[in-house]
């Protein structure tokens, strides 16, 4: 199976304003796929649709080779899911919650669960409802990992957690991914966090997937150029010009996409000069992409 998740022409509507239309998304097996997007863009809804928690109006969803929602229980046995909000029984203690979960997953690894329990420093006798936000987050990640899934679907797992807890949670995640070739589908709006380990990036905005590319292409694709002596209206550049601002004197700053190094020749041809090519980090690239996508230039 080449794709862990395959979504084809997904259509869903909620209320009068929110709609997901013609969504095509593929997550290659073994990839760590970062799912970015502002709040309300439809990330959580897409995740819920992908796992069969919601019914789409149209479209085909295949996860780990099986169709959703027909084979959802069979698929979910191999998927570790961390939802956006804490969803567990508030009355059960940490230890009881582990026992509950273990009963449902045949691949549950008790030795590893115990090790993570110690690593996360969770209080076994505390009821889930009384745990702090960070402890809840850690426990939910523990549950997702201890069942030894093939696919991890994480909906903003570090949202609202302090930096120390975030590190712990992500370390455990990457530790697992190093052990076995699991696929990770992680949504977040902490862009700088995803930057470190994702090898694919999908960006969602307003119910649509506006880009889905390997990380390197996303990072390297958007650049800031320092140009001097640029003409007012450049004709048909080989890259996508996203924005252009004057800097000082005759120099300008251009924001471009799909840049490649040999494109400096283009500037020579129009009588301009490229003084510098600056990389944008993922966060800036993401912000610029959204900005230009929302107000496209002619």
């Amino acid at each position: 199976m080449s794709n862990a998740i395959e979504i084809h022409q997904l259509h869903y509507r909620a209320g009068r304003t929110f709609e997901i239309k013609d969504l095509d998304l593929s997550v290659p097996a073994g990839a760590i796929y970062g799912f970015l997007g502002p709040n309300g863009s439809g990330k959580t809804t897409t995740i819920r649709l992908a796992l069969g928690l919601l019914r789409p109006l149209a479209g085909r969803i295949t996860v780990l080779g099986d169709t959703i929602p027909e084979n959802a229980p069979h698929v979910l046995a191999r998927v570790g899911f961390v939802p956006e909000q804490p969803h567990l029984d508030p009355v059960l203690t940490v230890r009881e919650t582990l026992r509950f979960q273990a009963a449902f997953y045949p691949a549950w690894d008790w030795p590893w669960a115990e090790r993570l329990l110690r690593q996360f420093e969770l209080q076994e006798q505390q009821p889930f409802g009384r745990l702090s936000k960070g402890q809840k987050g850690k426990l939910m990640m523990l549950l997702a990992l201890a069942q030894r899934p093939e696919l991890l679907v994480l909906d903003e797992p570090t949202d609202g957690l302090d930096p120390v807890v975030r590190r712990d949670v992500l370390s455990a995640l990457l530790d697992y991914v190093s052990q076995r070739r699991a696929t990770v589908f992680i949504s977040s709006h902490l862009v700088h966090e995803l930057e470190r380990f994702c090898d694919w990036i999908g960006v969602m905005d307003n119910g649509r997937l506006i880009t889905a590319v390997p990380m390197e292409r996303f990072k390297n694709g958007v650049k800031r150029l320092r140009i001097s002596d640029a003409p007012p209206t450049p004709d048909s550049p080989p890259f996508v010009l996203l924005a252009r601002e004057p800097a000082n004197g005759t120099t300008e700053t251009w924001l471009v996409r799909d840049w490649e190094p040999q494109m400096t020749r283009y500037f020579e041809s129009i009588g301009a000069a490229v003084n510098d090519v600056i990389d944008l980090d993922l966060e800036e690239g993401f912000v610029e992409l959204l900005r230009t996508f929302r107000s496209p230039r002619s």
Partner: protein, 218 residues
């Protein structure tokens, strides 16, 4: 899977189940107090039947209360988490519902057994006047069925979204309100009587709640 479900159910319901069992055990015994006399005049028989009948009205109330409370407690964690956990578990929905139902029903066995024990003890311990007979087993069975019916009905109501459950409870509340207002305004309106006649006397499982609950009868 059933074991962990039962355990989590127990954690939510234990107070209800324990109190219900205590009440269920005590009820038959309380209803026959004063029947220890050896001589059995018709007057005493009449008194006994009166006592048994008036206490007997509590059986359907207890059954309904147990059914309601255990059903609500069964679905409480799912409502809190908006069913996300249940839907993300690798079991088909129907199986999950069945597990929940079974767990609640298993816990309800305790008050049923308590009533059975109390009824048997009461019928055996009391000196029953001539002409009357004890029906502890029949009573216990009736109680068990009433609990089951109440539980099943409230379970089905609670299994829906919080919204549907709220709507249904809201409707009931609305009817009560109308009845109260009618009573205050001295309007002769008997909504509950009508509904009661419709729902309870209609040959169906709810009929089990009507009539007299007699531990000792002719």
């Amino acid at each position: 899977m059933f074991r962990v479900m039962l355990y989590s159910q127990w954690k939510w319901c234990r107070l209800i189940v324990v109190l219900g069992s205590v009440a269920g055990f005590a009820l038959p015994l309380v209803s026959v107090q004063g029947a220890a006399r050896a001589d059995s005049s018709p007057l005493q028989a009449g008194e006994l039947l009166q006592a048994v009948q008036s206490w007997g009205t509590l059986y359907p109330v207890l059954a309904a209360a147990l059914g309601l409370l255990v059903a609500i407690a069964t679905w409480a964690p799912d409502h809190r988490g908006r069913h996300v956990h249940a839907l993300s578990l690798p079991v088909p929905r129907w199986r999950y519902v069945l597990l929940r139902f079974g767990a609640g029903a298993t816990l309800l066995a305790a008050p049923v057994i308590a009533v059975t024990a109390g009824a048997l003890l009461a019928a055996w311990g009391a000196t029953i006047p001539a002409g009357l007979q004890g029906y502890p087993v029949a009573l216990a069975i009736r109680f068990a069925l009433a609990v089951l019916v109440a539980y099943a009905v409230f379970f089905a109501v609670s299994a829906g979204t919080a919204r549907t459950a709220g709507i249904i409870l809201g409707l009931i509340g609305g009817v009560i309100l109308v009845q109260i207002i009618a009573g205050v305004a001295n309007i002769d309106l008997d909504l509950f009587g009508r509904v009661q006649v419709l729902v309870l006397n209609w040959p169906g499982p709810l009929a089990i709640f009507t009539g007299r609950w007699m531990l000792i009868d002719v």
